[in-house]
Point group: C2
Chain length 411, copies 2
C-alpha cells in the first residue's frame, strides 16, 4: 500500500506537467481500447454478476453492476465529453501589480492525488479516471468487492494504454483489496492523498467523515425540499413537484419533502392527490395534510429522511419564515426550491436558505454537472469547504500564486 | 459545550444576513470599545503576565503576550483595515443561461461557524473576530491558558458591544476552558464547526490534522527555499537571500534553505560569507558548501527543518531539475524563490514547483495577505484544499448556486 501511495505521488508530479494535447490523446485512446477489449470487459463483468447472484445482491445493485456493449459505449461517450471540455490547468485569471512592482497571479493547478472509495458501479471507474486525468490529478481507486473483476479489467486496459504511450501507468491505480483495512489506510494516508471522495451509500460517506485524516469531499445525500409559497402559480407548483418527486426516484436531487403555505394548502393538496394516485406516492404528512390526503402521520424523524423512493413528507407551514427555518434545520444542504410569484419572497428564500443549490420556480432535478454546463461531474458536494454543488473539472483543481519580480526585497 | 456550539450555529444563520453597513458599524464600535476599556484590558493582561513569569514562559512568548496602549491601538487599526475591505458576501460573479432558460450563478456566502485554536497571542482574538465577522462567519475561540484573562476580557468587550446594538453576542464566543478536552470537542464538532483553523506551533497544527473530524485549514509552517540559478544576477541573489533569511527570522515566510547551481556556487558562497558574518548565521551545508564557508555538515533531517532562527541549510545542486526535485521533496509547500536571468528556467520553476507561492527574482518575505492586496489575513495556508497561500476575507467564504426559473422541469 505504501508503495502504491508513493507511486501515486510521483505520478501526480508528472501528470501535472502533461500538456492538454497529451492528455486529450490518452482520453481518445482509452475510448478505443475499451471498445477493442469490450468482450474481455463483459467476461470479467460476468464473474461479478455471478457472485452478485450468489450473495443475493438486490435488483437495483445488480442492474448498476451489469455491463454490456451499450453501457461500454456510454463510458466511451463519457470519455469524449471530458475530452471536449476545457482543460482548467495552467490558467491565470488576472495578475495584479503591487506598489513594489511585483506582478502576482493565481494559477490553476491540480490538487495532486485523489482517492475514491466506491461500491458496485464499474462506470465510476472510467468516469473518475477521465475527470481526474484531464484535471491533472493522479487517481487511486478503491472499489467494492461486488465489482472487483470488472474494475480490475477496466483499470488494466487504462494502464496498458498509458504504458504503450510511454507514460506512467500509475496515473490511475486500483487497490486490489476490497477490505475495510484498505479503506482505512486510504483514509489515513496523510501526505499522500490530497483529497478523498466517497461515492456510494450514506453510511460509507459518514464512515469517511468520521475516520479520515485526509481531506474528504462529502457528496450525494439529498433531502431536497419544495416550498409552495402563498402566491405560487398552482399549475407550476404541481408540475415542479411531480417532476422533482417522480421523474427519477433513486437520485440525490429528487425532492423528498414538500412544504406548503397554509393559505393555499387545501387546494394544492387536492391537486397533488392526482399526482399521488398516478405514481403511488406514500406520504408522511402533518395533521393538516392527513385531513386532505391519504397519508401516514409524520414522525419527527420523517422530516430528515432521504427516501429515494415513491415516498415523501408534506407539511403545511404558517409562513415563508417557518419554511426557511424548517429547511435549514432538516435538509442535507443539497437542493431546495421555492415556487412563488412574489419577488420579495423569492429573494428572501435565495438569501436565507443555506444549501448548495437554491431554485426559484424550477425543478430540483436540474442539480447536475451536465445541466450546469460543466460537462461531467464527480458528484454533488453538500459541504461548504472547497467545493459546493456539482464537482467538475474546475472543482478538482487548486491554485498557486506565481509572482514575477525584478529583485524586490521586503522593507 | 454543546450549548455553545448550538449558539454558534444559530448566530451564524443570523450573521449571514447582516448587511455590510451593519457589520461595518460594529467593527467601528469594537474599536471604540477597546480604546475606552484599555485600562481593564491592560489589567487583565497583567494577570497573564504574572502567570507567565511564574511558569517561566520564554521571552519571545512573554513579548507576544504583552498588551499596552500601543498594541491596543494596533488591534484597533486592524479592525479599521478590515472595515475598509470590500465585503465579499452576496456577490455573484456572472450568471449563465442554460438551454432550458434557467439562469444560474454562484453567490458568495459565509462558511458558517469557524473555530480557532490558538496559543499565547491575545491579538489573534481581535484579528480573527474582525475577519470572521466581516465575512459573515460565527467564531468560536479556544485560546491557551497563558492568555486567558486577556482573551476573556477582549471577548467580553466585543460581546457587550453586540448586545448594546441588539445583536446576538454569540457571533463571537470564547471557550473558557483551556484544556485538551475542550480542543478535542471542538475538533470533533461535526455538524457545528464548518472549519477549524489552528494558529500556533507545528505540534498544535499536526494534532489538529491528526485528530479533527471537522475540516481543518493547515497554516503557517514554512521551510522556504531560494534557488540561485546558473544565470543569476549575483548582486540580486545576495540581496534577496539576505532579506529573506535575516529581515525577520521568526516568521513562516523567511527562507530556511538555499540551493545554488554548481557553476556559480563558489562565487555566490564567498559573497554570502559577508552576510553570514554580519548576521551570525549558522549554516548546515553539504560538502561543497563546507569547503567554502564555515558550516556544519548537514544531516538528512536538516533539509526539512524550519529553523525560525539565524540558521539555514545550503546545498550545491547540479541542475535546475535537481533544485526543483529537492524543493518538492523537502519544502512545506509555503514559498519558494528562483533567482535567474533565464526566461526558460523561470518558466520551468514556476510550473513545476508545487508550493503556495512561487517567486521569480523577489524575496519570499512578500507572502502575506497585506502585501498581496488582501488587507489582512488569518494565516498562510500550506494545503491545496479550499484555500492556498494567504487566507483573507474571500478565503473565508463558500458559495451557493442560485437558480432563477419560470417553471422548468427536467425532461
Amino acid at each position: 500500500m505504501l508503495e502504491l501511495l508513493k507511486n501515486a505521488k510521483k505520478a501526480a508530479g508528472e501528470l501535472a506537467n502533461l500538456s492538454t494535447k497529451e492528455k486529450d490523446k490518452i482520453l481518445g485512446l482509452w475510448g478505443k481500447a475499451l471498445w477493442t477489449n469490450r468482450e474481455e470487459i463483459i467476461q470479467a463483468n460476468k464473474k461479478d454478476l455471478e457472485y452478485g447472484e450468489e450473495i443475493g445482491l438486490n435488483p437495483g445493485l445488480m442492474d448498476r453492476l451489469r455491463l454490456d456493449e451499450e453501457r461500454i459505449q456510454g463510458m466511451i461517450q463519457g470519455l469524449n465529453v471530458v475530452r471536449a471540455l476545457k482543460d482548467p490547468i495552467g490558467s491565470v485569471d488576472k495578475m495584479i501589480e503591487t506598489e513594489d512592482g511585483l506582478r502576482i497571479g493565481k494559477m490553476n493547478v491540480p490538487i495532486g492525488v485523489i482517492g475514491i472509495i466506491y461500491e458496485a458501479r464499474p462506470n465510476v471507474t472510467v468516469d473518475c479516471a477521465a475527470l481526474t486525468f484531464k484535471s491533472g490529478n493522479a487517481l487511486i481507486l478503491r472499489g467494492g468487492k461486488e465489482a472487483i473483476h470488472s474494475n480490475k479489467k477496466l483499470v488494466d486496459i487504462l494502464q496498458k494504454t498509458l504504458t504503450q504511450e510511454d507514460l506512467n501507468k500509475n496515473f490511475v491505480q486500483f487497490i486490489d483489496d476490497p477490505t475495510r483495512e484498505s479503506s482505512k489506510k486510504l483514509m489515513e494516508a496523510v501526505g499522500y492523498v490530497d483529497l478523498l471522495i466517497p461515492r456510494g451509500s450514506a453510511s460509507l460517506i459518514h464512515a469517511c467523515i468520521d475516520q479520515a485524516k485526509v481531506p474528504v469531499l462529502q457528496t450525494g445525500e439529498g433531502n431536497c425540499h419544495v416550498y409552495i409559497d402563498a402566491s405560487a402559480d398552482l399549475e407550476m407548483a404541481w408540475d415542479i413537484v411531480e417532476n422533482a418527486k417522480t421523474q427519477r426516484i433513486g437520485v440525490c436531487n429528487a425532492v423528498e419533502s414538500i412544504l406548503v403555505h397554509k393559505n393555499l394548502a387545501k387546494e394544492f393538496l387536492q391537486g397533488f392527490q392526482k399526482i399521488q394516485e398516478k405514481h403511488g406516492i406514500k406520504v408522511h404528512g402533518d395533521q393538516g395534510t392527513c385531513e386532505v390526503l391519504s397519508a401516514e402521520r409524520a414522525k419527527e424523524e420523517d422530516w430528515g429522511k432521504e427516501y429515494l423512493a415513491m415516498e415523501c413528507s408534506i407539511k403545511i407551514v404558517e409562513s415563508l419564515d417557518e419554511a426557511i427555518t424548517h429547511i435549514n434545520q432538516y435538509s442535507t444542504g443539497h437542493s431546495e426550491v421555492i415556487v412563488t410569484e412574489s419577488y420579495k419572497n423569492s429573494q428572501e428564500f435565495l438569501k436565507r436558505v443555506d444549501s448548495a443549490c437554491v431554485y426559484v420556480n424550477a425543478s430540483s432535478r436540474f442539480t447536475d454537472g451536465g445541466q450546469f454546463g460543466m460537462g461531467a461531474e464527480m458528484g454533488i458536494s453538500t459541504q461548504k469547504f472547497h467545493a459546493r454543488g456539482p464537482v467538475g473539472l474546475e472543482e478538482l483543481t487548486s491554485y498557486k500564486y506565481i509572482i514575477y519580480g525584478n529583485g524586490q526585497v521586503r522593507k
